[in-house]
Amino acid sequence: MWSGENSIRLSRICVLVFSLMLAGVALSAPWLVRWFLDFSRAELAGKDGCFFTTIYLGSLPAAVLLHKLYRLLRHLEMGQVFIQANVEDLRRISWCSFAGALICLISSLYYIPWIFVSVAAAFMGLIVRVVKNVFAQAVELQNESELTI
């Protein structure tokens, strides 16, 4: 029987899978970049360093984002939904998305397709920011309702 608990567990597994993928990308970056440069028809010779910089710089906000996402899911699993810590986590997740978007935007100077990743990351950051605003209001409402005697 499918339940909310199982759904949260599945989300946590997905976060762990993405964390492993991120670690995999960070570890295999030299081979990945080499393969991509050989495979790509764009004239990218000598741009290895730029790709490494984008991948390793982008890995930092991605790792923080995944950590905060995991923590948020742990709180949800414990039944702590509308708490200030979740609002803070969502705020950080949103800023990590914007940081990733900025890194990709700068990277589009040497490889234009990065701009698509940048727009997607910025859009995700915006959505998370709106969810954070909703959570902040919900926390306030819950506090008020708890202090109504």
Binding site: N143, E144, L147, T148, I149
Partner: protein
């Protein structure tokens, strides 16, 4: 907050303990403590009605408005 809860004053006048009041109005002692210490953000009319009935007083005896110095 400029709304002051004078519940402890009325309780002292009626010589009623927190435990007894909480039991008679049907709220927990923890909630009564929130009310007495002024930490509450709102009070239900039903709670106010019960308090007034048990303590035989008026809402104005329990709640007081004091202007905040700006």
């Amino acid at each position: 907050m400029p709304i002051i809860v004078n519940l402890d004053v009325v309780m002292a006048k009626r010589k009623m303990s927190s435990g007894e009041l909480a039991e008679r109005i049907g709220i927990s002692q923890a909630n009564l403590s929130i009310l007495k210490t002024g930490k509450a953000k709102a009070m239900r009319f039903s709670t106010l009605e019960s308090i007034c009935e048990v303590l035989d007083c008026q809402p104005g005896d329990i709640l007081e408005f004091r202007k905040q110095d700006s």
